[in-house]
């Protein structure tokens, strides 16, 4: 038995204002499954793709993550450092109780940008890009 993790990659290009200003796409990574040392490379690759495409803000919808270990936390922290260097951020949303508990144990919940819904995350992302 081995674990599975899937990352559904989408992006939204927000159009705002009367003049229809089109901003850069905001990648949304909907992650599902068990995030441990055997699966973390799936998320790592998805994050790397978004970074290489120039993303400044990346939204990670964690609603379907059933489990996260320190391997997953390390990848989140590393990706956050990379986007912060370009003035951006990693935004997490819809954390399950188990994921929130593990993040609380290392103090991440209070330090990462976390929202309850994807909509709130998008609104916040618009303020950054």
């Amino acid at each position: 038995m081995s674990a599975t993790l899937t990352v559904n990659e989408t992006s939204i290009t927000p159009e705002v204002g009367v003049g229809k200003i089109v901003r850069k796409p905001i990648p949304i990574l909907a992650v599902a499954g068990r995030l441990d040392a055997s699966t973390v490379n799936v998320l790592e690759r998805a994050l790397m793709r978004s970074l290489l495409q120039g993303a400044k803000v990346i939204i990670i919808d964690a609603g379907e993550i059933t489990y996260i270990s320190s391997s997953g936390l390390r990848v989140l922290l590393t990706a956050r450092r990379q986007v912060r260097e370009r003035g951006g951020d990693i935004i997490l949303c819809t954390l399950s109780p188990n994921v929130r508990d593990v993040m609380d144990m290392v103090g991440f919940t209070a330090l990462f940008t976390v929202f309850n819904t994807r909509e709130e995350s998008l609104t916040a992302a618009l303020g950054v890009v």
Binding site: M1, A37, L111
Partner: protein, 139 residues
């Protein structure tokens, strides 16, 4: 009356989910709720990842997982390996800080193990056993 079970698997990352399921089933039998079962899984996952990455460090080996279930009381987990002794004192102590930009990642796994379990005890070079890690969680 306690129940004892044992599982032996190759020391590979693709075995982590199997080890977690084995220990989660025992934790449920003790009577732990979902949140505590998740924490117990986490402790075993972190411990086994350390064995794979540091004790065996790529060489072939096995992890022996023993659990002792005491319904309505406690779960005792013993992990045995024959790899290089892993000295937890050599790992920098993880300290949550006020800034993610300055946070050091080293020691994260050990920190989670100690947070998740009531007792964590490392022993090295145990005659006939190799390295032994014993973790206890009380209900």
């Amino acid at each position: 009356m306690s129940i004892k079970r044992q599982l032996v698997v190759p020391a590979k990352h693709d075995q982590l989910a199997k080890l977690a399921l084995f220990v989660a089933t025992g934790a449920e039998e003790v009577g732990f709720d979902d949140g505590e079962v998740n924490r117990i899984e986490l402790a075993v996952d972190e411990a086994c990842s350390n064995i794979i990455d540091h004790a065996y460090a790529g060489s072939v080996g096995y992890i022996q997982l023993e659990i002792e279930i005491e319904p309505d009381r406690s779960l005792t987990i013993v992990l045995l390996d024959q790899g290089q002794p892993f000295n937890p004192e050599s790992v920098p102590v993880f300290e949550p800080c006020q800034s993610l930009d300055q946070m050091r990642i080293g020691g994260l796994g050990l920190h989670l193990m100690r947070q998740a379990m009531d007792d964590v005890c490392f022993e090295f070079g145990v005659p006939g056993m190799g390295n032994r890690l014993t973790m206890v969680k009380n209900l």
